[in-house]
């Protein structure tokens, strides 16, 4: 009770409403779903209230005064607990102070009696065996325990009332309002006929699938597993007492133990082994859960130890610590013990034993189911080298505790405990596969696939969807079918186990679970099972169903033939034919599966390629790198260009310089030439002036010559009429001839000037006759002139 109350208290943000830790990556989603859970919870509280009221009314039984408050407590339990947290806490405090023996067991509320009775019937009917078995198995210590107590059946009735009075009153007080509804007390009347007397069973099943209200869960679970029917008065206490005795024995190692302790020593041998392991696991069970304080851990220790003593063939197995912890949160210690016992001994018989055979069998069965239902997924996982059992093994072993979000775990447990078998385990696992198969198909390697499946399963917050998918979608997966499959697979597991224990080098690859599964798949017998009518309609949605059914039919036919053959012991030929046909069918089957697989792989590849952003990324990286390279190249080119340009520029500059120089030179040249031209001009002018002078002189000389000639001619005229003097005549003739010749020569270039000037000369000549001396000068002069002229010509040249 204490634990239960605590579990309902709202905890800090990292824990959910049950006080369990929420993984940080799921916090957000949990918060999203927290409100949905709340709504669902309210809804189902109403439904259950309604159901229980109708139950009570239809019973039409005498009203029991106590029941007035009962039903309301059912419904209002949750609200009360939430609204009156402090109140409750204080109450749990007070409870703690009480004697432990009192609160260790509590009868469930009477309003659930009808359900309990029905479920107990279930237990009694098929649970009779385990009880007897248990007696036989644990005969020694049970006998001891039974010594001090009367027959079970009668005691149960009495003890119920006792415990009821003590514990119930607390809870009744917690409940606020009162609602008049009768209580069902009559147990014996229901023992007569099972389902006929419970027309509401189906409705109850629906309700259970819809979820059990938090406030009722502990008690309903007890009702489902039939705790009351299983309970043996004082059995739990005796187990614990044996433990205490053990401890004492350890302390004072007394070798002188007499007969009364024989069983205890046996017990000790068994429990001693588990003690250390239980101790190790106590703090590792929901670490940090507020309800699992010192007292909680002690209760857990007692519970696990008691169970280990109760069933030494199982003893203590990891995973039980979680179950026990969970149960302790929901119900008192002894109730938890009986519930745990029911789960481990009955529901999961053979699961947690030393060899864990049933667990392995279930995995093979599940792999086969998955293979039937999700061939594509299985093909993909095969391709990645992933075995479904790697992941689902832990799911089954932990009954999803810590594998799914808590709300989903509890919902699965609701149905599982109600069903009374492990069918829900398979259905839920199949539902998870259905929900996440499409995502799994897109994974690229084994690691990704497993990680994805794990994390997706861990975020299955939509518990209603999960349970609905499981219950509605997989109705074909029922106990009968599972049993059949289990029987089929069990021998191989046991064989492998024996082989291993025999010390034969055990796990050759060919003996692996997968390989066994494979061989079973390819065993025509298993295909025969496929066509089993129990499979029913729900199967139709499986992929490639048509192929399967067709080949199955052939196989069935052939198998029938082989069967006939065996019966009639036919000749070899026929057997051979049959064998060949079987082989042919096997081959066909293989071909079909490989075609399927090829298709599968192709689509998977397509999806991979589509989804493979890594490749895209690497492509992109390549592209970018390439671009970078190009850019670098371009940059290098640019630099090169720039360099070249620079060179060109330099060259141009140089050339410019050169041209400048050249220009300068040219200018200098030009200047020099100008100067030379100038000089030449000057020379030319000089020459011209000298020429002019010379001309003048020439004119002068001419005029002088003319004058001389005139003078000479004048003298000649004067001399001729008297007598010519011999002397002058003698000299005159040659002189006369000579100048005349000379004039002839000169007259050519200067003829005109001479003629123009002659009048002047005539006139001037006339004034010179007195002077004879100039004559000589004049005679001389032309030669000078001539010389001068020549000289000018030379210089000119």
């Amino acid at each position: 009770m204490k634990a239960k109350n605590l579990s309902l208290i709202t905890f800090e943000h990292k824990r959910d409403a049950y006080g369990f830790a929420v993984r940080p990556q799921h916090l957000q989603r949990y918060k999203e779903y927290a409100n949905i859970y709340k709504e669902e919870e309210e809804e189902r509280s109403d439904k259950w209230k309604d159901f229980l009221e109708r139950q009570a009314e239809s019973a039409e039984l005498p009203i029991d005064g106590l029941s007035l408050e009962e039903d309301s407590s059912v419904v209002s339990g949750l609200e009360t607990v939430i609204s009156e947290q402090d109140d409750l806490e204080s109450k749990t405090e007070s409870k703690k102070s009480r004697n432990h023996n009192i609160q260790i067991w509590a009868q469930i509320r009477p309003s659930l009696a009808a359900i309990e009775s029905m479920m107990s019937l279930h237990v009694n009917k098929k649970g009779q065996n385990p009880k007897a078995e248990r007696d036989a198995r644990n005969g020694d210590h049970l006998a001891l325990i039974e010594e001090g107590k009367p027959t079970r059946g009668s005691v149960e009735e009495d003890s119920e009332e006792e415990f009821y009075d003590v514990e119930r009153s607390d809870l009744v007080q917690d409940a606020a309002s009162s609602d008049g509804s009768p209580r069902r007390v009559d147990h014996s009347s229901q023992l007569v006929s099972p389902e006929l007397f419970f027309p509401w069973k189906e409705e109850l099943e629906c309700l259970v699938r819809g979820g059990v209200p938090m406030a009722l869960r502990g008690e309903l679970w007890q009702a489902f597993v039939g705790v009351r029917a299983r309970r043996v008065e004082n059995y739990y206490q005796d187990l614990l007492a044996a433990k205490d005795h053990d401890d004492k024995e350890e302390l004072d190692v007394s070798p002188s133990n007499d007969s009364s302790n024989i069983s205890n020593t046996n017990l000790k041998g068994a429990t001693e082994k588990w003690k250390g392991q239980i101790e190790k696991d106590l703090p590792r069970t929901f670490p940090g859960h507020p309800a699992l304080d010192e007292d909680g851990r002690n209760a857990l220790r007692r519970l696990l130890t008691a169970y280990a003593r109760h069933n030494p063939s199982v003893g203590y197995c990891q995973a039980m610590n979680f179950f026990a912890g969970l149960l302790l949160l929901l119900m008192p210690e002894e109730n938890a013990f009986w519930t745990l016992m029911a789960i481990i001994d009955d529901y999961f018989d053979g699961y947690y034993s030393e060899e864990m055979i049933e667990s392995q069998v279930d995995q093979l069965v599940f792999e086969e189911l998955v293979h039937q239902r999700f061939p594509k997924l299985v093909n993909h996982l095969d391709y990645l080298g992933v075995q479904v059992a790697w992941v689902t093994g832990p799911w089954f072993l932990s009954i999803f505790v810590n594998m799914l979000p808590w709300e989903s775990v509890l919902r699965v447990w609701d149905v599982l405990l109600f069903d009374g078998n492990r069918v829900m385990l398979f259905r839920s696992a199949l539902a998870v596969m259905e929900l996440y198969g499409p995502a799994l198909v897109t994974t690229k390697d084994a690691g990704d696939a497993v990680t994805l499946l794990q994390s997706l399963a861990g975020s299955t917050f939509d518990s209603s969807q999960l349970v609905l998918t499981a219950c509605m979608g997989y109705q074909a997966v029922n106990e009968a079918k599972l049993q059949e499959l289990r029987n089929k697979h069990r021998p191989s597991v046991i064989a492998a186990m024996e082989e291993r224990s025999r010390g034969v080098r055990a796990w050759k690859d060919s003996q692996g679970l997968a390989c066994k599964l494979y061989s079973f798949k390819h065993d025509p017998q298993s295909i025969l099972v496929d066509t089993n009518p129990t499979e029913g309609l729900g199967d139709v949605h499986a992929n490639g169903e048509q192929h399967v059914s067709r080949t199955n039919n052939i196989d069935e036919f052939l198998n029938n033939m082989t069967g006939d053959g065996d019966a009639d012991s036919v000749p070899d030929l026929k057997e051979q034919v049959v064998w060949l046909k079987v082989e042919l069918c096997k081959l066909l089957e293989e071909k079909r599966s490989s075609i399927l697989r090829a298709e599968e792989l192709e689509t998977a590849l397509m999806e991979m390629v589509k989804q493979d952003n890594r490749r895209q990324l690497s492509a992109r990286v390549e592209q970018l790198e390439h671009e970078v390279a190009e850019l670098r190249q371009a940059l290098a080119d640019k630099q090169e260009q720039e360099h070249a340009m620079l060179q060109v520029l330099m060259r141009v500059e140089q050339e410019q310089k050169v041209t400048e120089d050249a220009r300068l030179f040219a200018e200098q040249d030009a200047a020099a030439q100008k100067y030379a031209a100038h000089v030449l001009q000057e020379k030319y002018e000089e020459a011209m002036s000298t020429l002019a002078q010379m001309e003048k002189r020439a004119v002068m000389a001419e005029t002088m010559l003319e004058a001389t000639l005139q003078y000479q001619s004048g003298q000649v005229k004067a001399l001729q009429p008297p007598s010519p003097s011999p002397r002058s005549g003698g000299n005159q003739e040659p002189m006369q001839e000579f100048p005349s010749r000379k004039v002839g020569l000169l007259s050519r270039p200067f003829g005109l000037g001479w003629r123009n000037k002659s009048p002047q000369g005539k006139t001037s000549n006339t004034e010179e006759p007195s002077d004879s001396k100039p004559n000589n000068d004049v005679v001389q002069a032309p030669s000078d002139l001539e010389k001068e002229m020549n000289g000018n010509e030379n210089s000119e040249k």
């Binding site: 392991q277 190790k280 696991d281 703090p283 590792r284 069970t285 929901f286 670490p287 197995c317 990891q318 995973a319 610590n321 947690y352 034993s353 030393e354 060899e355 864990m356 667990s359 392995q360 080298g385 075995q387 790697w390 093994g393 832990p394 799911w395 072993l397 932990s398 505790v401 810590n402 390697d445 084994a446 690691g447 990704d448 990680t451 794990q454 186990m497 080098r505 796990w507 692996g512 679970l513 890594r614 490749r615 690497s618 492509a619 390549e622 790198e625 390439h626 970078v628 390279a629 190009e630 190249q633 371009a634 290098a636 080119d637 090169e640 260009q641 360099h643 070249a644 340009m645 060109v648």
Partner: protein
């Protein structure tokens, strides 16, 4: 430049060892760098993956952390079959766990998978005062059995990454270069825009 993507190797690694030796804690430290005083018991097995870079390659460890309890032994083969490496973990304060580790080593050797790299981890090396198994004895044992041995502490993070790195280094790099991870683009445009050649 543009070196093609470094080689990437996937390696399945399994952790084996007695209850409470610290298998889950080692993995948690390696994968998430965390340590929790009370690690929840592992039921069946738990899976983790972590990628590390060693030299020029990346190694993606697919780690199966198995349950320690003896009866879960029957499930272990499912997990260690085909593993490239195994870490057998014991608790240096608990001789029984060392005995159990030896059994695991024996069992793994009996598999005949000579390629499997086996490491022996003496965990809880921070608890020196409580030591019951000496490093020397273990070292001798490890050498005899061709294991490599390290004392680790998930709590103080001593040698945790180291042991995984050591395993990564010992992985046969020569795993055929079969599956080319990260496709090499064949259509890389070769023609580099001919650099506008300039006047000479």
């Amino acid at each position: 430049m543009a070196t093609t993507a470094t080689k990437s190797v996937n390696a399945k690694l399994v952790l084996l060892g007695d209850v409470g030796a610290g298998k889950s804690s080692l993995v948690l430290r390696f994968v998430k760098g965390q340590f929790i005083d009370f690690q929840e018991s592992t039921i069946g097995a738990a899976f983790f993956s972590q990628t590390i870079a060693v030299n020029d390659a990346t190694v993606k460890f697919e780690i199966w952390d198995t349950a320690g309890q003896e009866r879960y032994h029957s499930l272990a083969p499912m997990y260690y079959r085909g593993a490239a490496a195994a870490i057998v973990v014991y608790d240096i304060t608990n001789p029984i766990s060392f005995t159990r580790a030896k059994k695991w080593v024996q069992e793994l050797q009996a598999q005949g998978n000579t390629n499997m790299i086996m490491a022996l981890a003496g965990n809880k090396s921070d608890l020196l005062d409580a030591r019951k198994v000496t490093a020397e004895a273990t070292q001798t044992y490890a050498e005899e059995n061709n294991l490599f041995f390290m004392e680790t502490s998930a709590k103080s993070a001593t040698n945790v990454n180291e042991i995984f790195y050591e395993i990564a280094k010992r992985l046969p790099r020569a795993q055929p270069v079969q599956n080319p991870v990260g496709m090499v683009l064949m259509d890389r445009p070769v023609e580099r825009t001919a650099g506008a050649s300039c006047c000479s």
